[in-house]
């Protein structure tokens, strides 16, 4: 049954049918071909996913991010990142990296991050003398830091398939995220030094920087508040996401005074659409997962790998290679939802902690968002920078190298994710 499923799914994907639809249709076609199982299973499995209380966190984290970044707070955050970095060599480029970290604490989406930051920062960086391809490469890679800093939508999805606590995953993502940001900042500085590019902007006074930090503080505090809320059991992840919306609404209405009905309406509708996109993939993956489990594919795969490759380090390497290949054509949510149920039992057989596996998966599939020749943040950034894909790809390699080093470190040093 699983072979039919894979064949039909591949054909539908080649026909450019959206992944969510392709998963639902392929699973339905497989059940119809098998003939003995009722098609009602498709409807039942889809329904089951809509009853998942933790998944209610998705729209509200998205809405909180949209509310915070769409108004004055987003501008203050960007000013803070820009001014704090402009005195350093390669500062304009590093601004994207720092902004990705601070925006990551509010939003949970790398694609939204690439678009929001790129449209503001890339034109400014180009005016500073940085080549379009380099700006695009920097933007495409830095945006992915977002999904390691809490709140992270891909980590919430991984918690759904693995059963690992969202609080543990959010905590585990911070150090790799900071490590990646540090590596990218050094890369930006190295590139600027090698090419002799100097910043023309005057450096800002400490007072001005402090003022900007105070104005940005409400957003900079958000990931800390989320983690504290989860760690101390003040509320469930879903309730924390709702409180994040209330926090964003209160800040916007009382502190920045830019809340309008239009902004609220736009944020909620945007969150609704994004939830529809992600939930359709979740619903489709659930039916596919049901069929794979019915065929005992995850167990058989884990048994096969553990008997074929005896060394756990090689198993982790094999998982990483497979994720890199899958991550190129497939987006993050379906890749996590399809491979998660297969990799979690495999990780258990080799003694790999599921929290560490979650960060490996999200980081690895995040790299897939800018791995040439196809990648969402790669395309968005190239389009904003008006750079050809070839130019962006040429400039991408130093950043790609840093990301691979961080991935290797996360894969083989448990202390980076489990503490």
């Amino acid at each position: 049954m699983s072979i039919i499923l894979v064949i039909v799914f591949t054909i539908l994907m080649l026909l450019a049918i959206p992944v969510g639809h392709a998963l639902v249709i392929a699973a339905g076609a497989t059940l119809a071909w098998q003939g003995e199982l009722p098609l009602m299973i498709v409807a039942q499995q889809m329904y089951q996913q809509t009853q998942s209380f933790p998944m209610l966190a998705l729209p509200f984290f998205m809405m909180a991010g949209s509310l915070m970044l769409g108004g004055k707070l987003g501008q203050e955050l960007l000013s803070f990142a820009t001014k704090s970095m402009q005195r350093w060599r390669g500062g304009p480029l590093s601004t994207t990296v720092v902004a990705s970290v601070v925006f990551g604490g509010v939003s949970g989406s790398a694609v939204a991050n690439a678009s929001a930051l790129g449209s503001v920062l890339i034109p400014w960086q180009k005016r500073q003398g940085y080549p379009a391809g380099l700006c695009a490469a920097n933007n495409a890679t830095s945006a992915v830091i977002d999904i390691l800093i809490p709140p992270s939508i891909p980590l919430i999805l991984y918690s759904l398939v693995s059963g690992v606590s969202i609080a543990d995953l959010f905590t585990a993502g911070i150090l790799p995220g900071i490590l990646m940001a540090g590596g990218f900042i050094l890369t930006c500085s190295w590139i600027a030094r090698r090419r002799g590019i100097h910043s023309e902007d005057p450096s800002v006074s400490r007072m001005e920087l402090l003022k900007l930090a105070v104005l940005s503080a409400p957003a900079l505090l958000m990931p800390i508040l989320i983690l504290l809320g989860l760690r101390f059991g003040i509320a469930t992840p879903t309730e924390i996401s709702v409180l994040a919306v209330i926090y964003a609404l209160a800040l916007s209405a009382l502190f920045y005074r830019d809340l309008t009905w239009q902004r609220f309406h736009h944020s909620l509708i945007e969150a609704g659409i994004a939830t529809g996109v992600v939930m359709l993939v979740i619903m489709g993956s659930a039916i596919v997962g049901w069929i794979l489990t019915f065929d005992q594919v995850p167990t058989r795969f884990a048994d096969w790998v553990s008997t074929t490759i005896s060394n756990p380090l090689l198993v982790i390497l094999a998982m990483n290679i497979l994720l890199l290949i899958v991550g190129m054509p497939l987006d993050l949510p379906p890749a996590i939802l399809l491979l998660g149920p297969i990799f979690v039992p495999l990780a258990a057989t080799i003694g790999l902690d599921p929290v560490q596996l979650g960060i490996i998966m999200v980081l690895n599939l995040g790299i897939g968002l800018y791995t040439p020749p196809i990648g969402t943040t790669l395309f968005i950034s190239s389009s904003i920078a008006r750079s050809t894909l070839a130019d962006t790809t040429r400039e991408l390699w130093p950043f790609f190298g840093v990301a691979m080093l961080v991935l290797l470190a996360v894969s083989y040093i448990p202390a980076l994710t489990i503490y």
């Binding site: 539908l12 026909l15 329904y47 209380f53 729209p59 609704g272 659409i273 994004a274 196809i374």
Partner: protein, 192 residues
């Protein structure tokens, strides 16, 4: 991967299009209005219930509202399915377009239309099955509010109907205008 190509100027062509395109516009407006209304109503209700429950947990001795898990579970499917249909309209669902982008304009048009036909037929079957399950589970009631499980399946069935209508409207546009009539989503609407 998500479609990120520049938006073609098909809006002008739509304005000068014939009756068929007017039908597509009417479908889109009706489905869009219904879905946006559902997202707003259910979204605000979910926000209010969940916030009130957190407050109630620390204020009331009962430790929160007993219905605070039940009602969101009944409302969330409506929120999701409205989002699914609206995302079809906005082109938000992620697709791998490596083959499509290599085809000629006519080839791409035919390929898209084949895909739309598959989606419409499949969702018609899925919607029918969802109604069947809704019938079966109508006797299952939630413990506190006594809400039937059928409501969630009706959301699934109506969501399928909205996907069919929206896909049909898209198919009309692609058939008459070409592949450039495909909508391009905002990055914020893709969710990753």
């Amino acid at each position: 991967m998500t479609r990120v190509a520049p938006v073609p100027h098909h809006e002008q062509e739509l304005a000068t299009g014939g009756g068929t395109l007017a039908v597509a516009n009417v479908i889109d407006r009706a489905v869009g209005f219904a879905c946006r209304s559902i997202i707003l109503l259910t979204g605000i209700a979910l926000l209010a219930i969940l916030t009130a429950n957190v407050v109630a947990r620390y204020v009331l001795e009962s430790g929160g509202f007993r219905f605070a898990q039940e009602l969101p579970e009944r409302l969330f499917p409506w929120f999701i399915m409205a989002g699914v249909a609206l995302a079809v309209q906005k082109g938000g669902h992620m697709a791998v377009e490596s083959v499509l982008s290599r085809l000629s304009r006519n080839g791409a048009r035919i390929m898209l239309l084949v895909g739309f036909a598959i989606i419409i037929a499949s969702y018609a079957i899925l919607g029918w099955e969802a109604l069947g399950v809704a019938d079966i589970v109508s006797i299952e009631k939630s413990p506190v509010l006594g809400l039937s499980s059928s409501y969630s399946y009706y959301a699934l069935a109506l969501g399928c109907a909205a996907v069919i209508l929206t896909t049909f409207a898209l198919a009309l546009r692609v058939a008459l205008i070409g592949p450039e009539a495909m909508p391009t989503p905002d990055p914020e609407e893709t969710g990753i």
